[in-house]
């Protein structure tokens, strides 16, 4: 997948519950209560999250009439959901590797890191690549990433002074590995049929 797709996919994975749900759905047999116990989430909160994932076409909900047996899954990943799961696995091990986690809980963290890795180094160009964030949220996230020393902010003297952002030297080789893994994942979009 390309960087723009990767940015959309990693953005979809942000938040408290999306990654844990995707990562544990299979081992819960695709069933609601085993997943709920495993994640230690309240049933209503899990239900809300699942409804959102259904409308985002990440998972498919099987009705009691679709299911041939009560032990069969209530939810299954769509092809899009499968692509997201693969990225979630990369992000999960990446956050361990760079010892900064959980970055995915806050939106835009991973899209920003991917943008920076691809030499989008100015505020405006990052904002445009990411598409949707408000300038305020982007500047908050950049500030946080700088405080974590994942990102370095520098002043460049061109005709006029500009700020540039870079992945900190220490993390550049890790980011290269992460990007290689993500780029090799097939990016199935919503609406992709089996």
């Amino acid at each position: 997948m390309h960087v723009k797709e990767a940015i959309q996919f990693t953005h979809q994975l942000s938040g408290r519950w999306v990654m844990p749900i995707l990562l544990h759905l299979h081992s819960s047999g695709g069933r609601f209560t085993p997943l709920q116990k495993k994640l230690e989430i309240s049933p209503s909160r899990l239900s809300d999250n699942m409804t959102k994932l259904v409308s985002a076409e990440v998972v498919q909900r099987l009705t009691p009439y679709d299911r041939r047996h009560p032990l069969l899954p209530e939810y299954k990943l769509t092809p899009y959901g499968n692509s997201l799961l693969e990225i979630a696995m990369v992000i999960q091990s990446a956050e361990k590797a760079i010892n900064h986690g959980p970055l995915h809980r806050k939106n835009w963290n991973w899209p920003i890191l991917l943008a920076l890795f691809h030499q989008y180094d100015r505020f405006q160009s990052i904002l445009e690549l990411l598409g949707k964030p408000s300038p305020r949220i982007l500047s908050t996230r950049l500030k946080e990433l700088c405080e974590m020393e994942l990102v370095k902010k520098e002043i460049k003297e061109e005709p006029k002074l500009v700020y540039t952002y870079k992945i900190n030297e220490t993390y550049r080789s890790s980011m290269a590995v992460i990007w290689k893994e993500i780029s090799e994942i097939e990016g199935n979009k919503p609406n992709t049929k089996d």
Partner: protein
Amino acid sequence: MYKSGLTIWYNVKNMDESVKYFTEGLGFSLDFKDEKQRIAIVTTNTKDCCIGFAEAETVAPVTSSAVFEVEDIEKAYVELKERGIHFTGEIETIPNLVKLVTFQDPDGNSFELSQTIAD
């Protein structure tokens, strides 16, 4: 081709409640329970006939009934009522065939007791 064995599976809202209903209420015994997967199986009055439960987010009660044979339906009716089983109606008699009485589990699945009437 077949061997002895019949299991009826139900989706239920709460495995523990269903197990309690079928063991303490109806008097069957617990055969198997998996706390993590939230599934359980109880044995019934008939050898190799079991009832399985698996928790689900959405439960659609089934309309077909599993029917348990009893020796004396009037006695069973009174005894189970005392143990908290809520019957849907009174005992009905189909002449020369059976006496039946219907009840529902906590999820609204239908069950019946039946006593065959010997001529």
